[in-house]
Amino acid sequence: MRRFFTETYYFLLALEPRYKIVLFLVIALLLLAAVMVVIVLRERSTKNSVENRERRIKRNAEPIIQEIVFSEYDGAEFKDSIKKINRIVDSALYRRSNMGILNELVLYYHRNLGGEAFTRLEMLYREIGLKQLAQENLKNGDWHIKAKAINDLSTMRMGETLYDILQFTDYPNQNVRYEAQYAAVKLGGKKAMSFLDDLDTPMSEWQQIRLLDQSLKFEYELIDQVGTWLRSTNNSVVVFGLMIMRHLNQYHEKGELLKLLYHKNEKVQEKAIETARELAYSECIESLYEVYELTKQTRIKKQILRAFADLGGSKEVGFLRETIAKEKEYNLVFEAALSLKRMGRRDVLISYKEQELSEKGESIVKHILDDRI
């Protein structure tokens, strides 16, 4: 036996360098593969056991949480429930992970149940220690941990943490910044939106949608900053301002809106026209004609035609009628016909004489008149 090994050893030693290198690499790789297989399988086992634990906790904690949310609990019963939950999540090794699972459970309930369920879940969130956990994560975690913590705290409406969160509204990492801005608005109300006044970086549509969603909760309060936003050099802020104008009926900035119809950025322009339409700002019709002439963008023209339906009168009916007959661009003919239908002027659509419309025009009118589409 020993001779075999010694002979092999000297054989290997005597090999040329290139053999040695390749042989070494081969053995190393195969070993690496074997080690990784073991790791993968172990990882799978761990994940499986985590999932089992998750299921167990959910199963045990669910009824208790339901009791808390749906019952008129007094102090003692509540404390009792807290103790029960604590017993479920407590564990020498896995407490943190268990708390994470519990966190998701509470958040899930909070997202689906409102009204009085909110207050009870929030009470639970505080008492069970999840709030503290989030605050710790906020201080110490990586960017995604911070972002999640902020998101959790704002979802659970932990107003008292607003000050901590505000520290992050201009954090270098964009994800954290966005979460902080959103949380600031959610917990701090419309005053917290003042960061938009001098925002240099563009705000993504995603963020706009979220902030808008929060803003809808302010209902129809007067938002003074809308004017500043409409005048901003940051186009995304302007677009957001327009969205606020439209969804929250902020009529007081109509003058500014008029100017925005001529904005160089197409997105802003389009949004402005849309807003004017939604706010029934019929005084801007003259400007709309002008813009229609000036612009080369089909999208903008479409929006204007659409706006005529809501803002216009008989003059616009005539214009639309002309457009259907003369315009070459399919989409514009379509939009014009649709607008006439919206205005309730089907009589105009069927009034075309023979040969007045192109074949395309005729089929479009037929399409519009078909109510099933």
Binding site: Q66, F70, Y109, G114, G115, F118
Partner: protein, 125 residues
Amino acid sequence: MSEKAKILIVDDEPLIRDALAFKLTKDGYDVDTAEDGEKAIQKIESEEYQIIISDIMMPFISGFELVKILKERGTDAPVLMLTSLNSETAVLKAFDLGADDFMTKPFSPNELSVRIKKLLKNAKK
């Protein structure tokens, strides 16, 4: 003596089903659950329910379809839609198809109870 009213809850998310079942059982109703539209129809065929609460976004047979099918079959149990969708189009569509009430998530459990009571009262008339 009054019999307990029977309620069917249709939602593809188990936690919601459980939560609603818990709450409504507490309120004194007899609660049954179904995890999708197909199972709901099966249950409705075999048992009588006084109210049906349904989600909209479910795989295969959506809440909208369920409502339409139920109304076509002549089920007179009122249907309450309970969903995350909150657009005007969704609301209109639901009522158009025959739904009797519409609530968006997150919903208040107490409000739900009140609406159920009202629907049951109206149905009895």
